[in-house]
């Protein structure tokens, strides 16, 4: 009989197992954790993070990295809020146009990001890190440090209206997860991400336009960041420079913990979903059982290291830079 407990199977299912173990652990520690109400809370905190993590998943599958999410999210949030208020301040008016506008802004920032990386031949981590700072600075320039309130009830219904106990934004996020899954598994673009991440040279010598794939990847990621920005604004009703704060660590942690390999070619959007849930279950669970915030960061950091150790066949890598 064949053993199903191979290393490969273990690595593949490890994130799901970790998630289940975590949920059981917190449920045992504190029964209140295991309630629909609390799950809804986890869903609300996960939704924006999931969008951003999905965006960066594509980039990481390509074997690149994108660190611009905080800046991009801030710019998108602020641009959306300004446009929304200027055009009427309620979704019932023409102000709904601010939603697609935010996506366009996100795509544009992503495209610029990609152009800096591809055309100026700057490593993606450096190009995107720099672009992230530019974005944060630009958002601050626009707001002058002010918070912009978005109080339209219709827009806030993302959070306030619930269906089966979960707010609308959770369903919106799941909808975009399905879109991301479709892109990953059913489109040439998605396949190209895997090809570039799995063997860039080969993709090139199979006639793929690798640079174009990269540009489209960063643009797509930018659009997902914009969706994340919209959900983040919908959650607290405020757009400001700080809207993007913390998304870099959370999203990259989620992608890695979910089992997507940092050197590209392996993983996908479902891994990212699991990763986002793990991170948010830890955050939520620690609050529920009453541990201080700094412990959470420490635990997440350790989790990242364990995830990388598990997902790497380190025998095949002689030197690590």
């Amino acid at each position: 009989m064949r053993s199903y407990l191979t290393r490969d199977a273990l690595v593949k299912w490890a994130p799901v197992i970790v998630l289940i173990v975590l949920v059981l652990f917190f449920a045992l520690m504190e029964p209140r954790f295991f309630s629909v109400r609390n799950f809804a809370r986890i869903g609300i905190s996960s939704a924006p993070a999931l969008m951003i993590a999905l965006g960066v998943t594509f980039i990481i599958i390509m074997g690149s990295i994108d660190l611009s999410m905080e800046g991009t999210v801030s710019v998108c949030a602020v641009a959306f809020a300004f446009a929304f208020i200027a055009m009427g301040g309620t979704l019932a008016s023409y102000a709904w146009l601010a939603l697609p506008l935010a996506l366009v802004v996100g795509a544009a920032v992503g495209l610029i990001n990609g152009l800096v990386h591809v055309k100026l031949r700057i490593p993606s981590f450096m190009a995107s890190l720099a672009m992230g700072f530019v974005g944060t600075g630009f958002a601050l320039l626009l707001t002058g440090g002010d918070r912009i309130r978005v109080e339209d009830e219709l827009f806030r219904s993302l959070l306030t209206v619930r269906f089966l106990n979960f707010p609308i934004m959770v369903y919106v996020a799941l909808g975009f997860l399905l879109i991301a899954w479709f892109i990953q598994s059913r489109t040439t673009l998605g396949r190209n991400f895997y090809a570039v991440g799995g063997g860039e040279e080969l993709a090139h010598s199979s006639g793929l336009n690798v640079n174009r794939v990269r540009l489209m990847g960063f643009t797509l990621a930018g659009m997902f960041y914009a969706v994340g920005a919209l959900l983040a604004v919908g959650r607290i009703g405020i757009a400001e420079t700080a809207t993007g704060n913390n998304f870099m660590f959370v999203s990259i942690t989620s992608v890695v913990v979910g089992g997507t390999a940092l050197w590209g070619g392996i993983g996908g959007v479902w891994n990212t979903l699991v990763g986002v849930l793990i991170v948010n279950v830890i955050n939520n669970g620690m609050v529920v059982i009453g541990l201080p915030g700094y412990v959470q960061d420490g635990v997440l950091g350790i989790l990242v290291i364990i995830a990388v150790v598990l997902s790497t066949d380190r025998k095949s890598v002689t030197f690590v830079k």
């Binding site: 090809a195 991440g197 063997g199 080969l202 793929l208 336009n209 070619g265």
Partner: protein, 501 residues
């Protein structure tokens, strides 16, 4: 003084060294020649300790020694000057020379750079290289780097008692004529300090420099020639002398090609310094073989036809159309398929499964406005899996887990299913076992029959002769000779070798 007795080395499936005896005396220069795959590099690796022999003995001055690694060999006076230079280019010359042996200059944890510089200068004098030891290595010319490498090996002189044996692996392959002469003069002068083992493809140079020449073939030393009565022709015969098996290469299936149609036409094509002045025509059903030693420009030619290199001279027309913009996309669009040498790097994408790899170059045919039609992809994959008898549990299997031969078949299927009728094959049988090789030969004949034009860089000369309709022999990027290889009047190995080196 240094001697190998009845040394054996086996790898899975290959008997790399067969009872090799090898001897070198004090101050001697010994040549080592053989075709690719004859066992030269295995022998060298045994000598400098990178491989341990399975059987037999290594003795120095009659004492048996055993090296676990190159460092132990160095401690017994055996040094290696690498063909692929082993200097770290962003370090200075002196840092390179004493890499791993800095301890002698360290006092209380701090390196005394002045002492290291003067010690390095002394080493550089041995090879008559007058440069500042603090120069960053990347600033040096190739020839200078080679000398630094030699100087680095010569530091062994101070470090160990006893004699030095220095291996020179293809030291002249990238040097100009003057530089070669300088190097040879130097090596002759250094005989007082060390013995040398000189490995080269260039027989005239080997005869010029060495006292004795070991000729290897199929893992065995077939002859030891004293240079006084050596001649190039005789050695060449000993290097290759083998019978070609017609059956093996499916020669009975070799049909005349369609000479009235032209798929690829190159006229004075050149990418200096790799190759230049190349003219040829490729016809449907023709197997055109590029023959030459490593670095004769074969790979660059394939890359140019595919579009990965832009020629600076001459013209290239594919199916009557002049190529102006050279890119891989244009190559694929013209129906050119490229099977590169390193399958792992450029052949298949690990992590993608069989059908994903097969449609990688032609996703446009299997998608509408960017959305893939995966059902059709799988059907295509199943078709080709049965057509080429690819051994895989299903089309969903990750290609990285297939055997080399089956990976090769997936790559061929990728191009053939996409309708490529110009195939560029670079060492398609490298690393395959015999059965898988025969499968590849069969596929090549099938493709010829289907009217595909094939440009082939074969793994061995026999393979080139056996498979091809036409052979172009290259040396240092220049066409030396063109052979017509109609069955019955194929050139012999010796004919080819004669023009190669």
């Amino acid at each position: 003084m240094y001697e190998l007795r009845k040394v054996e080395k086996k790898f899975p499936g290959v008997h790399a060294l067969k009872t090799v005896d090898f001897k070198i005396g004090r101050g001697e220069i010994v040549g080592l020649v053989g075709e690719n795959g004859a066992g030269k590099s295995t022998l060298m690796k045994v000598i400098f300790g990178a491989y341990q022999p399975d059987d037999g003995a290594i003795t120095i001055d009659g004492k048996t020694v055993r090296f676990q690694n190159p460092r132990q060999a160095m401690e017994h006076g055996i040094g290696m000057v690498f063909q692929e230079q082993s200097l770290i280019t962003n370090l200075t010359v002196m840092e390179n020379i004493f890499l791993g042996y800095e301890q002698q200059f360290v006092k209380m944890g701090v390196i005394n750079w002045k002492a290291m510089a003067s010690a390095a200068r002394m080493q550089l004098q041995k090879v008559k290289l007058d440069i500042d030891p603090a120069t960053v290595t990347s600033k040096l010319s190739f020839a200078q780097r080679q000398l630094v490498e030699l100087a680095k090996v010569l530091t062994l002189e101070e470090r160990i008692d006893g004699d030095l044996v220095i291996l020179l692996d293809e030291p002249t392959s990238v040097l100009s004529k003057e530089e070669v002469e300088l190097l040879f003069k130097l090596v002759r002068e250094l005989r007082s300090r060390a013995s040398f083992i000189f490995v080269s493809h260039r027989l005239d140079e080997v005869i010029d420099l060495s006292d004795r020449i070991y000729v290897m073939k199929d893992g065995a030393v077939v002859d030891v020639v004293e240079t006084d009565n050596a001649d190039v022709d005789a050695i060449q015969h000993k290097m290759v002398g083998r019978e070609v098996n017609k059956e093996y290469y499916r020669e009975q299936r070799q049909k005349p090609y369609q000479a009235d149609k032209t798929l690829v036409k190159a006229d004075g094509l050149g990418v200096p310094p790799r190759y230049s002045g190349l003219s040829f025509e490729l016809h449907p059903g023709e197997v055109l073989c590029l023959v030459g030693t490593e670095g004769s420009g074969r790979e660059a030619i394939l890359r140019t036809i595919f579009g990965l290199e832009t020629p600076t001279a001459g013209t290239l027309a594919i199916k009557g159309e002049q190529i102006r913009r050279f890119s891989a996309q244009a190559g694929v669009a013209h129906g050119v398929g490229y099977v590169p040498r390193e399958r792992k790097i450029e052949g298949i994408v690990g992590g993608l499964n069989v059908y994903e790899n097969m449609t990688l170059s032609q996703m446009g045919n299997y998608s509408r406005s960017g959305v893939l039609r995966i059902g059709e992809e799988k059907k295509l994959a199943r078709d080709w899996i049965s057509k080429l008898a690819i051994k895989t549990p299903s089309e969903h299997k990750d290609c990285g887990g297939l055997s080399g031969g089956n990976q090769q078949k997936v790559v061929l299927a990728k191009w053939r299913s996409g309708g490529s009728d110009i195939m560029l094959l670079d060492h398609p049988t490298r690393g395959l076992d015999i059965g898988a090789k025969e499968d590849v030969y069969e596929m090549i004949r099938d493709m010829s029959e289907a009217g595909v034009g094939i440009v082939l860089v074969a793994d061995t000369l026999e393979e080139a002769i056996g498979l091809s309709h036409t052979i172009i022999v290259l040396k240092d990027g220049e066409v030396q000779k063109r052979f017509d290889c109609t069955p019955g009047s194929k050139p012999s190995l010796y004919d080819l070798v004669h023009y190669m080196i």
